[in-house]
Amino acid sequence: MTTASVPAESANAARRSLIASDLRFVLLAALGLALFPLLLHPIGGYAGLATQILIVSVASIAFNLLLGYAGMLSYGQAMFYGGGGYVAAILLLRAMPQHPNLWLAVLGATLVTAILALLVGAVTVRLYGIYFALLTLAFAQMVFFIVEQAKDWTNGDDGLQSIPNAVLPFGPWNLDLTQSLPSIDLGIFGNLGDIKLWYVFAAIVLIAVLLFTRLLTRSQFGEVLTAIRENEERSVMVGFSAPLYRLAAFGIAGALTGLAGALRACYDGTVAVESLSIERSGQFVVYTVVGGVQTLVSPVVGTALIMYLENVLSGKTTAWRLIEGLIFVAVIVFLPRGVLGTLLKQREKNPRSIFVRSLRPRTEEPDPLLKPVAEGHRAGPMSIIETFKLGKLFGRFAANHDIDFRVDPGELRAVIGPNGAGKTTFFNLLSGTIAPSTGTINYKGRDVSRVSGTNRVHLGIAKAFQTASLYPDQTVRQNCRLAALARVQGPFALQVLRRSTRLDDVDALAERAMDRLELTGVAEVRAGDLSHGDKKRLDIAIALATQPQILLLDEPVAGMSKDEARKTEGLIRRLSTEMTVLVIEHDMEMVMGISDTITVLHQGTVLATGTPAEIRDNQAVQEAYLGGHTEAELASG
C-alpha cells in the first residue's frame, strides 16, 4: 500500500504542476491580448484590425496543427474558412432572421465544416506531400465553383451582404457585440471606447483555442501524431493507424478553420467568394510560415505581423503585396524556423513521469478482422505462423513465389539466402508491410493475409527493420514508450486532452523492453545520437515493447563489430526463450550458432529447410551461395 501511494502522490503533484502551467499560459495569453489593441494604436493599427487578426489567427493555428504537428501541407483550408462563413451567414439569413443567435450560427458552421473536413479527409489523408497539397487544392476549387454557381443560396460572385447582427445570449444577458467598452482616454494608446465587445469575444475564443491546441499537442493524441510525422513507417509497425490519426487532425483543423470563418463573416456582416479562393488558402500558408511552425503561438504572431503590415502599408504603397511576398520568401530561405521560432530558439520538452506498476497480462481476444481459414489450409496444431504458396509480384518480377513455410511456437528460425533471394520481401509479407499477390498467411491457424501491418502488430507480429527505423529526435525511452503506448491504447484513441503519462503500463512496458536490450543506460539519449549497434538494438526494443509473440528481425547484427554482434546474439538467444523469433542474417557464425531451424530462400522461393547441420551439408544450398562453383575455383578466381 505504501509503495503504491508514493507514485500516486507524485502523480498528483505532477498533475498539479501541469494545471498550474496551463493556468500560467492562459493568464499570459489573456494579458497579451488585453494589451494588444492598445499597443496597436500608436503604431497605426486600430481596434477593428485587432479583432480581425484574432479571428484569422484561429484559422492559422488550425493550419499549423496540420503543417507543424501532423506534417500535412493543405492547400485547401479556404474551403473550410469560406465554408464556415457561408454556413453561418445562411443560417443567420434564412433560419433565424428574426432572432439571430451567434452561438447557433457559429456552432452550426463549425459542425458543418467538421463534417466536410472528415469527408474530404477520408479521401485525401492517404496521400502525401505534393499529392496531398494538390488534392486538397482540387477539393477547395470544387467548393469554390460550386458556391459560386449556387446563386440562389450564395448570391454568386456578389457574396452575401447584410448578415443580421447576431446577439450572443449569455446567461441572463443578450450581448450585442457591436457595443463598445466604456470610454476612457488612454493617451497614446487610444481610447478604450474604440474597442468593441467583439474584440473581447474574439480574444476569449482565441484563448480557448490556444488552450485546446496546447492540451492537444501534449496529449496522447498529439504524441502519436508527432510520432507519425517523424517516422510513419515505424509508427505503423508499432501498431498506430496513421490514416485515422491524420483524418482526425484534418477534421479538427477543418472545424477550427470553419469556426474562424464563421466568426469573420458574423463580424464583417458579409461573406464573399474570395473567402474560398486559392489566394485565401495561400494566406494561411504565408501567415503560418512567417510566424513559424511547431510552436503554438507563432502562427498568431505571423498572422498579426502580416495583417498589420498589410493594413499599414496598403495605405501608403501599392507594393505591399510584393513586400508580403518578399517577406515570405525571405523567411523560408533565411529563417526556416519562422520569426518567432528564430527568436525563441528552443524546443518545448514533454515532462515525463517514471512510475512503474505491474504489467497488465496480455489477453487473447478473437479479432473481428479475422476470417476463418478456408478448408484444406488449416494449419497444424503446433504451427504459430504458416504460409501457403505465398508470392509477391513487383510488376512482372516475382520477388517471392510459391513459399510454403511453417514455424512452430517458441522456435528460433533463421531465414538465409544470397542477396536478392527475396528475404526482406518475405518478411514484409509476414509483417503486413506489403500485401501478397498470391497465397495465404496463417497466424495461429487463422488467415491474416489481408490484415494490415498495424493490426498484425496488435495480434502479436512485430518487426525490427534492416535499417533501424527509429524516432531520431526522441529519447530512447520515448521510442520504447511510443511502441508500448500502441500496445496499451490500440491503433487509435481520440485522447486529445489527456497525456499518455497517466497510463502506467506504458512506462513499465518501455522500461522492460529497454532492460532486455540493455539500453537502460542510454534511456535519456536522443535516438539519433546513438551508435550503430545501439540503434539496431533500440529497433528491436521498440518491436519488443509491443509485446509480440513473433519477433521478425531483419539482419539484426548487420554492420556491427564482432563483439557487438556476439552481445546482440546473446540478447536474441534470451528473447527466443519467451517468444518465437524469425531472423534474417548473413552472419553465418551466428546463424549456425543460435537457430533451431534454418530456411534457405533462393530466387524468391524456399530452397531448403533443416537443422543447421543439414543446411551446411546441403549440395543445393552450397551451389546457390557459390553459384555452382567449388570453393577452390572461387578462391583461385
Partner: protein, 290 residues
C-alpha cells in the same frame, strides 16, 4: 454540330496551352524532383515580355524575345534561390516556389497595373479558315499547329541530344547518373530554362487569344497541375494526354452545362488521384519517392 466542332477546337487550343505549361512542370519534376509553383509565373512573364516588345518591334520579335527573356529569368532564379531547395522536402519546395510566384505576380502588378490587357491579333494573321460547316479564327489554328510543333521539338530534344539522355536517365535515378559522370547539374539548369522558355513562348503567343493580367500565371498553373496529376507527374506524354483531355473536358462541359465546367476538371483530378495516383501514364515508383 457547329457548336460541337467549335467547342472541340476551343478545347484543343486551351488544352495545348495547358500542355505547354504542364510539359515544363513535368520534365522539371522528372529531373529535379522539384514541384514548381512558380511555373505559371513563366507564362505570365512571357506574355508581358511579348506584349512590351511587340508594341515597339512587332509581334514576331515579341515571340522571339519572350522565351529568351523567360529562360534567362529562370536561370537566375535557379542559380540564386532554387538550387538550395533541390534536396529539401517537397513541402519546403512548394512553399518557396509559391513565394516566388507571389513575388513575380506582385512585381508584374506593380509594373503593368492590375488591369487586363490583350494584344490584338496581328493584321497578317487575322481572318478565319473555313473548316467544314464552321469558320474558325486562323490565328487559333496557327497557334495550335505551332504548339504541337513546339512540343515535338521538346520531345526531339529529350530523345536526340546528350542533355536529353541525361535528363531521361536522371528521371530514373539521379544519383546513379551523377556517379556515372553525367553533369546533371548543368543538364538540370538547361531543362529548367527550357521548360520556362516553352511556357514563356506560349504565354506570348497566346496573348491575342487569352487576355492577361498579373494573376494569369496562377490561373493557368492550377489547371496545369490538374493536367500533370491526371497525366502522371514526371511523364512527358502524360502531360500531353492530360492537357488535351482536360482542355476538351472543360470545353465540352461548357457546351453541355456551363456551370459545371470549372468543377468537372477538379472532380476528374480527384478521381485520378484516388484510383490511379500515379496518373494515367505515370509510373508508380515516382509517387513513392515524392
Amino acid at each position: 454540330m457547329e457548336a460541337l466542332i467549335d467547342a472541340l477546337l476551343n478545347g484543343l487550343v486551351q488544352g495545348l496551352i495547358y500542355v505547354a505549361i504542364a510539359v515544363g512542370l513535368t520534365i522539371v519534376f522528372g529531373t529535379l524532383r522539384l514541384v514548381n509553383f512558380a511555373h505559371g509565373a513563366f507564362y505570365a512573364v512571357g506574355a508581358y515580355t511579348g506584349l512590351v516588345v511587340a508594341e515597339h518591334y512587332g509581334f514576331v520579335t515579341g515571340l522571339i524575345a519572350a522565351p529568351i527573356a523567360v529562360a534567362l529569368f529562370a536561370i537566375v532564379l535557379d542559380r540564386v534561390v532554387l538550387r538550395y531547395f533541390y534536396d529539401k522536402t517537397p513541402t519546403a519546395q512548394i512553399l518557396v516556389t509559391f513565394g516566388i510566384a507571389l513575388v513575380v505576380e506582385e512585381t508584374l502588378r506593380l509594373i503593368f497595373g492590375g488591369t487586363t490587357q490583350q494584344y490584338p491579333t496581328p493584321a497578317f494573321l487575322q481572318g478565319a479558315v473555313q473548316l467544314g460547316p464552321i469558320a474558325y479564327p486562323a490565328y487559333r489554328l496557327l497557334f495550335a499547329v505551332g504548339v504541337l510543333i513546339l512540343i515535338g521539338l521538346v520531345w526531339l530534344f529529350l530523345i536526340r541530344t546528350d542533355y536529353g539522355l541525361i535528363v531521361r536517365a536522371g528521371t530514373r535515378d539521379r544519383i546513379m547518373v551523377q556517379l556515372l559522370g553525367g553533369n546533371i547539374r548543368q543538364a538540370s539548369t538547361i531543362v529548367f530554362a527550357l521548360g520556362a522558355a516553352v511556357a514563356g513562348l506560349v504565354g506570348a503567343a497566346a496573348s491575342p487569344i487569352y487576355s492577361i493580367d498579373p494573376g494569369t500565371g496562377f490561373e493557368f498553373l492550377v489547371p496545369s497541375f490538374v493536367v500533370v496529376v491526371v497525366g502522371g507527374l514526371g511523364s512527358f506524354w502524360g502531360a500531353v494526354l492530360g492537357g488535351l483531355l482536360i482542355g476538351e473536358l472543360y470545353s465540352i462541359t461548357t457546351l453541355v452545362y456551363a456551370p459545371a465546367a470549372n468543377v468537372i476538371i477538379y472532380v476528374c483530378m480527384a478521381l485520378v488521384l484516388l484510383f490511379r495516383p500515379q496518373g494515367l501514364l505515370g509510373e508508380s515508383e515516382v509517387i513513392r519517392q515524392s
